[in-house]
Symmetry: C2
Subunit: 312 residues, 2 copies
């Protein structure tokens, strides 16, 4: 039985290919054969085991699950090697036979960024050249990797509260992708000079204002989206021409109401699957504002894992 | 990371030791720190993935899950090697670090039989010498292994519909344990001449009658227990002096009512954990009838798996 780790994930599946797998997952979802129920949590005294189960047992012939946990060692400074806290397993959808295991945190990050890349491909202005980041962590880095796979970017601005972090992010963007990349001192500078804005923070309060987002701009929000904790306010959604999510069902499944619930934007949320499959239209003009609410659709890790195992 | 298979399970953990682990699990349950929520199922078009999650994060310091499936290959004649359809994973309850994986079907069988052995130890007459089996399959064989670990058995009778199967079961019991073992032509012959009766069938209709069960006899039922499908009828429970289960909570958690619901026996069901921990009394006299409703308490596989990984 095959067992892959983080190094294998990075080596075997370039971002462009991961985005192709994700587009297939969204088409399967639109056709009704992606299985992706809400997450399942079991709480223990020192942490929680979280299961996302799913797959595509018609098109992809792979089912399975990812399990991650919130125990002390799973935190960034927990001292436990990343291969030891997250597991994804893939079973053949015909026979139920275990195909293999992926250990580590890279697959989850790749999954989220490949969904983000798919969203940019179908929602952002294809002529977008300037990207702005609010937040410079692990997820932000992966979103950049995805963005350069689907857009011809030239410039980048990044803001995050710690100067050393945003400077390191800009340096990496310049070195790795040849972008004219600059760390800036405010979120506003990053947002209002960009065609694409990626909010990837753990902030409980809005990090951008609606008036910073000019016509034509795409915004992706990766962070919290509940009434009490949200990375963007409802006005950003209300002024957007298109609001999409990878999992509209998940938006209603939190224990607390979603920040958009009760606003005019709530009933306008489109399933990204319907845009990818051509059932609904996304952006129709360069001057439109678009917004992507990233949720982390279940079942998609399993399809990426199945592709990794095929290549290994 | 350690990965064990069926051969390791059989080699590393003798039944007597598995029963000790299970007694520890029941004490943890009585003390309120065994985590064992109801099973979690995700249905796909060709089968279901089933998760039992749990553990003891105070005493045993092990949490985790077992996943099994009902896809075609997981059935007995499915042609897929048993190591490829069931997985148990153990995480350190302090750090969340993955400790190891057990592949295969033996652990699930060992878990069920070790629970059965614990039930016999605390419910059956310690002087019991004659055991009767209705059913001669994989689970029945494992229940025999458990029974000889806790009782000084001398004689065995076994009935199951296929003569070759019951004869093979009797032959194995004689060879492996030196029992005076006999395959009989009716369930009645197996039941009414025994101090312990183990029903381990997939029958949808009762396989024993209450009048066959003499005073002093212990009965264990492993099979279906719902209103529409049940291996024993309510009269067997109603005449029992003590009715216990490893998971009284699970009895109420089926989509269909339990066969005992609405009968006088329903409110008398005792948690085996309370008997093992001394909080409640089980059998108090040799002439009492006792009944054990085997449910398969979640979290217990993880504790057995943790003990296996310690020994490996």
């Amino acid at each position: 039985m095959k067992t892959l780790t983080d190094a294998d994930v990075d080596r075997l599946l370039p971002m462009k290919d991961a985005i192709l797998v994700m587009e297939g997952a969204f088409r399967a979802k639109a056709e009704g054969h992606l299985v992706s129920p809400p997450r399942f949590y079991v709480r223990f005294s020192r942490g929680t085991l979280a299961f996302t189960v799913g797959g595509d047992d018609v098109g992809g012939s792979a089912v399975g699950f990812r399990v991650y946990n919130t125990f002390p060692g799973a935190k960034e400074d927990g001292g436990v090697h990343p291969d030891r806290t997250q597991v994804t397993m893939v079973f053949d959808a015909g026979s139920g036979a275990l195909q293999g295991t992926i250990l580590g945190t890279r697959l989850g990050v790749l999954r989220t960024s490949a969904i983000g890349g798919t969203a940019l491909k179908y929602l952002a202005n294809p002529a977008a050249e300037r990207i702005g980041f609010i937040g410079s962590g692990l997820q932000a880095k992966a979103q950049l990797d995805a963005a350069v796979s689907v857009l011809s970017l030239k410039g980048l601005r990044v803001f995050s509260p710690t100067p050393a972090h945003r400077q390191e992010f800009a340096r990496r963007a310049a070195e790795k992708y040849g972008l004219a990349a600059r760390a800036v001192d405010t979120a506003r500078e990053a947002a209002e000079n960009s065609d694409v804005v990626i909010c990837s923070t753990d902030s409980a309060r809005p990090v951008i204002e609606a008036e910073w987002i000019r016509p034509g701009t795409h915004v992706t929000t990766m962070g919290s989206k509940t009434t009490s904790e949200h990375e963007i306010g409802p006005a950003v959604a209300q002024q957007a021409d298109v609001v999409a999510s990878d999992s509209p069902a998940q938006l209603s499944a939190y224990s607390e109401p979603h920040i958009l619930q009760g606003t005019g934007a709530w009933t306008r949320v489109i399933d990204l699957a319907d845009i990818v499959s051509g059932r609904k239209t996304g952006r129709t003009a360069a001057g439109q504002r678009t917004l992507f609410l990233s949720e982390g659709l279940a079942g998609t890790e399993v399809l990426l894992a199945a592709e990794l195992l095929r290549r290994a």
